[in-house]
């Protein structure tokens, strides 16, 4: 499933990144490599972006990015 669809509070694992170029690099910089644990923490009042717990850090990502991340 896409990271965008991940319900809040559920622990999941990155399967693959569909992003290319600079976007892919940004996501890799955050440590989003296959196998990384990721949990959706909270959504902004308007529903987007969503904050995720990645490697002990809370990082907000827009749906444009999370639509390019596959998790399970």
């Amino acid at each position: 499933m896409l990271l965008t669809q991940l319900p809040l509070g559920v622990i999941s694992e990155v399967v693959s990144l569909e992003a290319e170029g600079i976007k892919r690099r940004r996501l890799l910089d955050l440590g989003l490599i296959p196998g990384t644990q990721i949990i959706a923490k909270r959504r902004s009042p308007s529903g987007d972006p969503t904050a995720y717990l990645i490697r002990g850090t809370v990082i907000a990502l827009r749906s444009e990015e999370t639509n390019l991340i596959k998790v399970r």
């Binding site: 290319e20 600079i22 976007k23 892919r24 690099r25 940004r26 996501l27 890799l28 910089d29 955050l30 440590g31 490599i33 296959p34 990384t36 923490k41 909270r42 959504r43 902004s44 009042p45 308007s46 529903g47 987007d48 972006p49 904050a51 002990g56 850090t57 809370v58 990082i59 907000a60 990502l61 827009r62 444009e64 990015e65």
Partner: protein
């Protein structure tokens, strides 16, 4: 490694890179990042131990601060609260400082008289320079000394990234970067700082949007003007407890500024700065206990004194110039009168008067001096009241024909008009282009004229 070996190695790398196609190159990079992270994980596991639960109170606070229903109201309340504290807290020390500094002025005048100094010297130095300085200090210092520490405290706590998190969607829809709300927060302190802060935005297009619209956040040079005008014109409408109303009005003005920022960003990204938003990642760091002592020192020395000093450096010569303009005549009228009359017809259309518009133009080097210049100009035109309190100021403005619509238009013009000279030069430096620097001044001016014109026409027809 020896130099030749490094060179060989680099050659080898570029040979490898050349032999790969796009897909393979991406795979190679993925593998490198993967290896770096797995190595880092091993090192961290062996050497770092986490103490206690990381989640907890901070999470609960975040649940409230970014919640669907409370997120925005809390932001508004915080903003209003900061303004209210500033208004209430600044009132009394401002009056005291004013009284003291004008008491000093009396003695300075006596001293000049006693040594038999010529009238023009007394005029330039005391009535021009000193009086403007006294004004800038008594009007600016108390609100800044209250506003900055509170704001720095919020910054230190880690609240600002939550604001960016809440507001991001609005920025996305207007084609801008969510980090723009961070550069805007910097703009509250100083627009030039806000423009420099735009370096955190990587996409050149979005960076330019953030730079060009930073002016729509009232910097602390304009912020006291907004506070004082809303206090004496809007605040007194409700009688007692009116400081709440005044704070509310300043919040409203800030919201108008944000709305115009979004609107202008949207228009620009549909026209001359076409493009889609680039990627956005924002860290929400854990809350920290602020170091109160450091916050106080830092906000006082770095911000309050720095900004006050800048205002003083500009205000003193400006005060001298205003005195000269007021006391030299062209065909029997003072130069101030002459210029003010010249631009009065246009100024009246947008709800101001010639003197107000002239004060804004003379205030280009630093917005802090707009209100002092304005008052000095009015005083030079005959009114004899000493502007040592809010009531006296109200008297001066009302005597010169101000209504609440004049105050509203002046506040809107102050909020929107053009950034100070320093900020314009900073835009030139950051964009490396005079074209954008000039655009960064002319575009807000156009917006300001359109908005004040509409507001003036509509409100005058409806209410006066």
């Amino acid at each position: 490694m020896e130099l030749t070996k490094i060179k060989d190695f680099n050659e080898l790398l570029s040979n490898i890179s050349d032999s790969l196609n796009g897909k393979q190159r991406e795979q190679l990079r993925d593998q490198i990042v993967k290896d770096i992270y797995s190595n880092a994980e091993v090192i961290a596991d062996n050497n770092v131990s986490m103490q206690g639960e990381q989640t907890g109170i901070g999470e609960k606070i975040d649940d409230i601060l970014t919640s669907k229903w409370l997120g925005f109201p809390i932001m508004l309340l915080m903003l209003g609260g900061v303004f209210w504290l500033t208004i209430v807290g600044a009132n009394y020390p401002s009056a005291m400082l004013g009284e003291f500094l004008f008491w000093v002025e009396g003695h300075l005048s006596n001293l000049f008289m006693a040594v038999g100094a010529p009238n023009w010297l007394h005029g330039i130095l005391v009535e021009g320079m000193y009086r403007t300085l006294a004004w800038v200090i008594s009007v600016m210092l108390p609100p800044m000394a209250i506003f900055f520490p509170i704001f720095t405290l919020l910054e230190d706590l880690g609240y600002l990234p939550r604001v960016a998190f809440n507001l991001d969607n609005l920025f996305k829809k207007s084609g801008a970067n969510g980090k723009q709300s961070l550069t805007m927060s910097m703009g509250f302190g100083c627009n030039a700082a806000g423009v420099i802060a735009a370096r955190i935005i990587e996409s050149p297009r979005e960076k330019l949007l953030a730079i060009l619209t930073n002016n729509f956040v009232p910097c602390n040079g304009r912020f006291p003007t907004l506070l004082i005008l809303s206090m004496i014109f809007m605040g007194t409408v409700g009688g007692r407890g009116s400081s709440l109303l005044a704070a509310g009005i300043v919040v409203l003005l800030v919201l108008i500024g944000i709305a115009i920022t979004l609107l202008v960003s949207w228009i620009l990204s549909k026209t001359i700065l076409k493009g889609i938003p680039s990627s956005f990642t924002l860290e929400l760091p854990p809350y920290r206990k602020p170091q109160i002592g450091r916050v106080l020192v830092r906000s006082f020395i770095d911000r309050t004194l720095f900004v006050l000093w800048r205002a003083i450096v500009v205000a003193a010569p400006a005060g001298g110039i205003v005195w000269l303009l007021a006391n030299n005549t062209i065909g029997g009228v003072s130069i101030i009168d002459y210029v003010a009359n010249l631009i009065d017809p246009f100024a009246t259309l947008i709800g101001l008067d010639g003197v107000i518009l002239m004060a804004f133009i003379l205030g280009l080097p630093a917005n802090e001096i707009v209100l002092p210049i304005l008052v000095m100009s009015y005083l030079s035109l005959g009114s004899m009241i000493e502007p040592d309190s809010a009531d006296a100021l109200r008297g001066i403005l009302v005597n010169n024909g101000w209504t609440w619509v004049t105050a509203l238009c002046t506040m809107l013009f102050s909020l929107l008009h053009f950034p100070c000279g320093t900020t314009i030069l900073t835009i030139k430096k950051e964009t490396n282009s005079w074209k954008w620097a000039i655009f960064g001044a002319v575009m807000p001016l156009t917006v300001a004229i359109i908005v004040t014109f509409l507001v003036n026409q509509i409100f005058t027809t409806l209410f006066l």
